[in-house]
Symmetry: C2
Subunit: 268 residues, 2 copies
């Protein structure tokens, strides 16, 4: 039996294991925690990113009224080394009127190398003239919404069952996407494109509000002029939450953005 | 021709379109921007989340030395309404020794409803005794790393080609995962599980350091005791970046966590 298997048999308990000891934080003052980052979780010479995330997660478990992380987004600024470190938390329970908070990394897309070794392929969306938008029928969304006037959306009929009262049961939504006034896409409008389609929940037979809890967008390439294709999939609807994974493709068949969001859903 | 199509023909220019006007921010003082959130981008009664993200993205474009978003993670605290709003930016160029910054939403996993309507299925990983860990051969990673001593990793042979000098060319990595001392998983250790496997880049024939830029984890369910199965896929390697999408499954066949990270890769 290997060492790991022997240890597995001994079964350290949650709260009293190496992982717990090495992620334990010490309260210095309200919201500020000290930790000695363990050299036991290094990969080559840097501290593993998942271990770091667990350390911050534990500090937040202490600092917040609830102890379970639902969604954690981390941006890694520089490589971490073992040794003393400080965790500063800033608890915001949303009691104020703050609506949204972001963490972002910016750069120069034009400075990136040209290599493309993607295995992803553009979504199979029929030509635009075979797709349908809000203007092609009675408003498919209850209470016609202003945003539909701003957008050029042409939905793949294969993901439009919900509008006809026959949702497919698959968590998929695909559409051509543009701005109604024909403005070409740029990195900023990609941030809009990933959250502009009807919720995949509609195709899962769920109607109503699907508020986003967390949304992360990766902009991978400056988009070429012309309409975009957006494909969104949901694989896991459980516990009153679902994820929406979006891919955005440009007219040059480049995958220009990927996003994932966690959204709440009310099951009736 | 529909109204949208007419407008599409007219072709508003980047910088002079409805989207640009409605996401324009006004500098109030360094790092603080005012905006009048347009009622034109509402869905039902709330402002669309993608429009909001574009507004914050534009403010950051002004506040930062680079104008292109690479990755933006947003947490939505409360629904936004049209009207005056303030965007506060905090530019950190990583010149200090800050290593990592997170945004997180916490809650009580045990309070979530029991519904499971997932279409995702557990990864097809062979039984643990047919999988291989670092202890089963010469250390497969150059410069044996401390973290391998902390973990119980048993990799699917189908994703181990890289260790034998024959990477599959597919961006996939699958493994059984546990802590070496047998501690059972909990929500915090899931934060570790999503970033503990060898990089998918290895199976794409790329070796060396693949530093994480951004990592978001969604914890979807409290994990049952016993080993986890982790499946990671990469679909898009381009421009010197790749994404890693992880799913973590527990011994009860529940999808307990999903994550996505953006990582840099050095192509040789």
């Amino acid at each position: 039996m290997s060492e790991a298997a022997t240890a597995q048999a001994a079964r350290a308990a949650i709260g009293d294991s190496e992982f717990d000891r090495d992620t334990a934080v010490t309260l210095r003052e309200p919201g500020v925690y000290d930790i000695d980052l363990s050299a036991g979780w290094t990969i080559i010479s840097a501290v593993n990113g998942g271990y770091l995330l667990a350390v911050l997660g534990r500090a937040l478990s202490h600092a917040l009224p609830h102890s379970d992380p639902f969604t954690v987004s981390a941006h890694y600024l520089t490589a971490s080394q073992p040794g003393p470190a400080v965790v500063r938390t800033d608890a915001d329970e949303g009691r104020e009127v703050e609506r949204i908070r972001v963490l972002a990394s910016y750069g120069d897309l034009d400075a990136l190398p040209d290599d493309v070794r993607t295995t992803a392929t553009p979504p199979a969306i029929p030509p635009m003239e075979h797709c349908f938008g809000p203007e092609d029928g009675p408003a498919p969304v209850d209470g016609s919404s202003a945003i539909t006037e701003r957008l050029m959306l042409k939905l793949d009929p294969a993901t439009l069952g919900w509008a006809l009262g026959a949702p497919s049961g698959k968590g998929e939504m695909r559409s051509w996407f543009g701005l109604a006034d024909g403005r070409d896409p740029d990195p900023l409008s990609l941030l809009l494109a990933v959250d502009a389609l009807p919720p995949t929940a509609f195709e899962l037979g769920i109607s109503g509000w699907v508020p986003t809890v967390e949304l992360t967008v990766h902009v991978r390439c400056r988009p070429a002029p012309g309409p975009l294709r957006v494909s969104i999939t949901t694989r896991n609807l459980a516990g009153g939450f679902l994820e929406e994974d979006a891919e955005v493709w440009d007219s040059a068949d480049r995958l220009v953005a990927q996003s994932r969001q966690l959204a709440r859903v009310r099951l009736s």
